[in-house]
């Protein structure tokens, strides 16, 4: 069992790499990449035997008391169950591959060591999330990931757009995280415990307070909305493309965004317990998928298209969760991680080769970038849902779940599937087929270090779907639902329709874009209105800017103004008041009191002037006075 406690090491290796790279960045310089790759390889080394162990049926769980909260102690530790194992497998594999790819991609960058430091910090965060056994540790690593995405998006900090993007990313995710934090708090007050293991029976215990459960579930789901870029909070992902492509691939495709879904999976007992929560999740998932797909149609930047496709696929997974098929969601997550990473890396090597990201300038790259093109094709086919590739199986499962859940969801999701296929192949055709539109682009194939991971991923995206397919008797589903057996109905109609939709989408794309952009523009003009909507991303960004960010700052300025004027005014006012009061009392003192004193002095002076007249110096005067006084006194006295 000694290996069990090694689980802690999985996240610690990347952390170590981060510390080394960040502190000794100047000395390590270009060898930094090898440190971080080595670290992630090491964690793979440790992780896979554990995964095999988990496949073998054992669930590793260990925790230690971290925080004494008075009544109850918060315990931290790791939990390796099938869910964690799958994620672990995906993250370690894809992470390492992308880091190897990044060596080539980032060669020659100014802050090379810092990039890899952030990457390894991200790996630590992601691995932390995967293996954590309670919501709080989950949340902490979740936040570390957010930090890394912020740092990496803002890697090219010279560009203003990058600066805004990273800020926007962090803030939007932060909004989600706050919801998540509240969820944790609610959960703690509700169930008294945050650990996943005890979650199930704790929920059973409080099944009666339905409202609380729903609220907690939805609050937790906020985290997912923020992190996995679901509808209200998805705006940051397209802008996140400002970061280097490997970052986009690793973080904004494969792992981090997936963490949101993983969170829902972890909190699944809660969602099962409350129907409303599930429905909300489903709705959000579907809406996200559909809208993202629409916007992807008209995107011209290669990475933007992929970003929107990621959002839509995430929408898919969330919808699956909402529809009650947690397993399908995870399965799709795994498959999506592979081919989406591949797509991004492909796009990366294209950008690396051509130096531009704009579709309109590309074209005819197939002959020049053979391996990139082929791997790109495989990935596109996979995502479009063409059997036997990975995408088909997972998407099919989801569609099946949606079909069982509710027709409305099924129709929306299948429409999304059609749109997905269409815009993927629009992208493929515009970049690789046809004639090169921009003459001064001299595309060249990326070096081996970059194309290698592409091929590995390509193989992955082909094979990874199989364990979940009916060919392998849904081994994967059983693996995930270890606890309780579930039958796997196969609904051929759903399967056939999805295949048909996928092929139709591909064909339409070929039709429209084979001759370059011409056909595209004509269609755009005819469908003017919807085209403009899609082009402007449903004006969500503008809406946010207008109704949220600007008022936010305005309110801040208002409050500051208020603070300066009113509150400070009050203080200065009292100051001025006391000054005034002191002036008045000063005046009072000066004129009234001093006045009376002077008056008294003057009066005595006046009286004494009168009496002075008596001092004539004549002795007789005095005698007269004395005599007169004596006489009168006697007179009045004695009479």
């Amino acid at each position: 069992m000694v290996t069990a406690n090694l689980a802690y090491l999985i996240p610690l290796f990347p952390l170590l790499a981060f510390v080394i790279n960040i502190l000794f960045g100047r000395y390590v310089k270009d060898k930094a990449c090898w440190i971080s790759v080595g670290a992630s390889a090491l964690s793979c080394g440790i992780a896979w035997p554990l995964i095999v162990g988990v496949i073998g049926g054992t669930t590793y769980h260990h925790d230690f008391a971290w925080l004494a909260l008075g009544g109850v102690d918060l315990k931290f530790g790791y939990l390796l169950d099938p869910l964690a194992a799958t994620l672990l497998f995906v993250v370690t594999l894809v992470g390492t591959l992308i880091q190897i790819y990044a060596i080539g991609y980032m060669k020659g960058e100014a802050r090379f060591s810092r990039f890899f430091a952030y990457l390894s910090l991200f790996m630590f965060g992601m691995l932390g999330v995967v293996i954590s056994d309670n919501f709080l540790l989950f949340f902490m690593c979740w936040e570390v990931m957010g930090l890394c995405s912020y740092l990496l998006i803002g890697f090219y900090s010279e560009k203003d757009s990058a600066a805004n993007a990273c800020k926007k990313a962090f803030l939007t995710t932060r909004v989600g995280d706050v919801g998540f934090l509240l969820g944790i708090l609610a959960l703690f007050t509700l169930a008294g415990t945050l650990s996943f293991a005890e979650l199930h029976d704790a929920v059973e215990l409080n099944r009666d307070s339905q409202l609380m459960i729903t609220v907690t579930a939805l609050l937790l789901f906020c985290g997912t909305i923020g992190k996995s870029a679901q509808v209200p909070l998805h705006v940051w992902l397209p802008d996140a493309m400002e970061g280097p492509t490997p970052v986009s691939a690793l973080i904004h495709a494969a792992t981090m965004v997936a963490a949101g879904v993983f969170l829902v999976a972890r909190a699944y007992p809660l969602i099962e317990a409350s129907a409303q929560a599930a429905q909300v999740i489903a709705i959000v998932g579907t809406v996200t998928a559909l809208t993202a797909a629409c916007v992807a149609l008209t995107a011209t930047d290669i990475k933007k298209v992929l970003a929107y496709s990621t959002i839509s696929q995430l929408g898919y997974m969330v919808a699956a969760m909402g529809c009650g098929a947690m397993v399908a969601g995870i399965f799709h997550l795994m498959t999506h991680a592979f081919f989406k990473a591949l797509l991004f890396l492909g796009a990366g090597s294209v950008i690396h080769g051509t130096g531009t990201q704009d579709l309109r300038e590309m074209g005819g790259l197939f002959p020049k970038m053979k391996s990139t093109a082929w791997t790109f094709l495989i990935a596109s086919l996979a995502i479009a849902g063409v059997p036997p590739l990975a995408g088909f199986w997972s998407k099919d499962e989801i569609l099946l779940a949606a079909h069982q859940y509710g027709n409305l969801y099924y129709y929306a999701l299948s429409l999304t599937a059609f749109l997905t296929a269409f815009y993927m192949f629009r992208l493929f055709v515009l970049t690789f087929l046809g004639k090169p539109r921009n003459p001064d682009i001299h595309a060249h194939e990326s070096p081996k270090s970059m194309t290698g991971p592409l091929w590995v991923l390509a193989v992955g995206s082909i094979l990874v779907g199989l364990p979940g397919s009916f060919l392998a008797h849904n081994w994967f589903q059983d693996f995930l639902n270890r606890g309780h057996e579930v039958e796997h109905p196969v609904n051929y109609t759903v399967m056939i329709t999805s295949i048909a939709l996928g092929l139709a989408g591909i064909a339409l794309a070929f039709l429209l874009y084979r001759g370059g952009l011409g056909m595209g523009e004509k269609l755009a003009r005819s469908l003017a209105w919807p085209h403009r909507v899609s082009m402007n991303k449903f004006w969500i960004d503008e809406a946010y800017a207008a109704w949220l960010v600007r008022p936010w700052h305005a309110l801040a300025r208002l409050l500051f103004g208020l603070d300066a004027k009113v509150v400070d005014g009050a203080v200065n006012g009292t100051g001025a008041g006391t000054l005034g009061g002191s002036r008045v009392s000063g005046w009072f003192d000066k004129y009234i009191i001093d006045g009376t004193v002077n008056f008294i002095a003057a009066f005595t002076q006046f009286c004494s002037d009168i009496f002075r007249l008596f001092q004539t110096g004549f002795i007789q005067n005095y005698l007269l006075i004395v005599f007169a006084a004596v006489v009168f006194i006697l007179y009045f006295g004695i009479r």
Binding site: Q615, T616, G617, F618, Q620, F627
Partner: protein, 102 residues
């Protein structure tokens, strides 16, 4: 007692009043002293008359006797002072001797 007491008292009263008027009005220091003598004599008259009618006649006369002696002493000193004043101030008019005037 040849004449009734009250007449003598009246006489001394009038004498006293005249003396007082003299003291108050005289400008000359010596004039004042003269008036003072009048006052004292008026008092003496009173004393003697009362001693005449009182049971203990000795007291009155003895008192009068002392008054005379003292009056003489007073006059002596007073006039010495007047002489001294005259020698320094070259005048004995009281309204010219007013160093204490404000």
């Amino acid at each position: 007692m040849i004449i009734p007491l009250e007449h003598v008292l009246l006489f001394s009263l009038i004498l006293f009043a005249i003396g007082m008027v003299g003291v108050l009005t005289r400008r000359n220091a010596i004039g004042i002293l003269i008036s003072i003598e009048l006052l004292l004599n008026a008092v003496n008259v009173n004393l003697v008359c009362f001693s005449r009618v009182s049971e203990d006649p000795m007291a009155g006369q003895m008192f009068a006797f002392f008054v005379i002696a003292l009056a003489a002493a007073a006059a002596a000193v007073g006039l010495a002072i007047v002489v001294a004043i005259y020698r320094t101030r070259n005048t004995v008019q009281t309204d010219e001797i007013q160093l204490l005037k404000w």
